[in-house]
């Protein structure tokens, strides 16, 4: 790729008018070639991301016959909801989807309620052990789920909590809590401390300042973090398949029946699981860097 020289000379020695015109043209062309090549590359990568989603969508909205057919169409013509209907009316799917939603909602409520005070403490207080706690939270976030799922399953069996929707939600809360705490902390850190001080100067107790000033300003960020929590729980499959037997969540149910089911079921299921993640990215786009960027710190 070519580079554009930034003009640095402040006292231009005036060359003839034609020469500058030619130079400008050449510089402009170099500039547009560079721009153009970046665009082409950007579009190729965008296509690489979008194409598989388009293809699975095509499958989900073709007739089951078209899904089984070969060679396949690359667009859903004729369009049909038959495949989706078939998937959604398969035994156990609606129940599994319901379980998934219930687990995800319990997870997001528990996780957010626990994370708000913890995130606030990390964002606002300097206290002995703060860095250790932060680091600890950061490292459990990278903890292998696999390690937790097996012993928890055994423990839940012992405590008569095995195969329960709420048990899985408890487990998912443990998995999402570190992330939620760090995201919520970064949201709180984004609310200037001066605002809180101003509230206290003008007559608020610390608790009231939190309620009147900090929380309203943090709400959009906390909502985004809750959506993230929801999606994390909705997507989680390893713990789900270990901790449940009859009360499968959607991914666990799909994974469990994968080798016994045909392509229409798989593709429709794959697409159905995508839906929340597509909505998710729309809602959290402003907070993208709150969520993942702060991993750097």
């Amino acid at each position: 790729m070519t580079t554009i020289e930034t003009p640095i000379n402040t006292t231009p020695s005036r060359p003839s008018m034609e020469a500058t015109a030619v130079d400008r043209k050449r510089a402009k062309r170099r500039h547009s070639i560079r721009r153009g090549s970046i665009y082409i590359l950007a579009c190729i990568i965008a296509l690489w991301i979008l194409l598989p989603i388009w293809l699975i969508g095509t499958m989900a909205f073709s007739t089951p016959e078209d899904v089984r057919n070969y060679p396949k169409h690359f667009a859903p013509v004729p369009a049909s909801t038959e495949t989706m209907d078939f998937f959604l009316n398969t035994d156990g799917i609606q129940r599994a989807a319901r379980n998934s939603i219930v687990v995800a909602i319990i997870t997001l409520i528990l996780s957010t309620l626990l994370a708000i005070p913890a995130g606030y403490a990390i964002a606002r207080y300097l206290f002995p052990g703060r860095d250790a706690i932060r680091l600890g939270i950061l490292s459990v976030r990278a903890f292998p789920i696999v390690v937790l799922a097996v012993p928890l399953a055994i423990t839940f069996i012992k405590w008569d909590m095995y195969d329960k929707v709420y048990s899985l939600a408890l487990m998912h809360t443990a998995l999402t809590l570190p992330t939620t705490i760090l995201v919520v902390a970064s949201v709180f850190a984004g609310v200037p401390y001066e605002l809180e001080e101003a509230a206290r100067i003008f007559g608020c107790t610390p608790a009231k300042a939190f309620w009147k000033v900090v929380l309203p300003l943090a709400t959009p960020g906390i909502a985004a973090s809750a959506i993230l929590t929801f999606v994390l729980s909705w997507n989680e499959v390893f713990a789900a398949i270990l901790l449940t037997l009859t009360n499968r969540t959607l991914p666990a149910q799909i994974l469990y029946t994968l080798d016994k089911s045909g392509d229409p079921f798989k593709f429709a299921g794959g697409f159905f699981m995508l839906i929340p993640s597509l909505i998710f990215i729309f809602f959290i786009r402003r907070y993208l860097f709150n969520m993942y960027g702060q991993l750097n710190k």
Partner: protein
Amino acid sequence: MAEIVVEKAIKRFGKFVAVDEVDLMVNDREFVVLLGPSGCGKTTLLRAIAGLGMLDEGRVMIGNRDVTYLPPKDRNISMVFQNYAIFPHMKVYDNIAFGLKMRKSPKEVVEERVQNAAKLLHIENMLDRYPGAMSGGQRQRVAVARAIAVESEVLLMDEPLSNLDALLRLEMRAELKSLLGRLKATTIYVTHDQIEALSMGDRIAVMKQGQILQFDNPTRVYDLPANQFVGSFIGNPPMNFLRGQVQRENGTVKVKIGDFHLSPSEEMVEPLQGYDGKFIFVGIRAENMETLASPAPDALAVMVEVVEPLGSQNLLTIRISEDILKVSTHPDFKVHAHETVYIRFPPAKIRWMDRDTGQAIAPSLDKVLA
């Protein structure tokens, strides 16, 4: 009545002592400026008075009430923050009304005071807007309106103009001064800008390394700095400090700068006598010297190194052995680099400083009164 008294205030951050045994007395309705370079403890002291950071030792009294351990909301104070701290989720009206609402003032009072404050700051047509889209200057006005709407007896301001651009700052400075003059609040104003301090304050407390070096009215702080730091921190260019040697000669005292002999004013003769043979600093402001084109018996001949025309004055840079001297002259005084000029030091304008302590050498009190 709301005089503010700070006694033996100490505030540490780990090993760093931000406020070091400070005593400060601010009279009722006085406008006091805390001035100093960043890190000198001025903001920390202000926050201690506000109740936003508790002192490690000492106490704070507001209007004869010990408030050292009271939360901010119970101190009956109000404050303008450096970054304005306007609540972005509230309309301008609600921002200004915030303090009043927290105090549960009746609706009519809230309405009236908000309108008044908004009128004073010329933002009455913005009350329905959110602060998000407002400019820095407008936010500043909202912050000040919010602070004065509560009509508390104490108003604290933490570098309120530092985030404005130069032109706006100049405009707001004058407006703020006239506005605060009409209010009946005791005001403490923190800044690192000496011009703000000189132009606004009734008294200025110059701080350095957690201590107040001088607490006096602007003229005295400027003309009679208590020590070398105050002299060089205030004024642009800073006060000149030349090295001179004190010499006693049959009853009189002279200070030798190179080959040149300087005669101190009468009341300084006695205090300087103790420095016989020692080196001291001769402190003098750039505008207090007379520059002559031709020799005179009481003028020092010097070579000009640099001439900087600044419009309202010409600033000359002169080297006298190891010391650099800045002299300001009338713009009509024509001189070029490497030319010789003659400088006269009016003894009354000289501030003598002890070279070891950096403190001003002052005549004993009875001499001054006499």
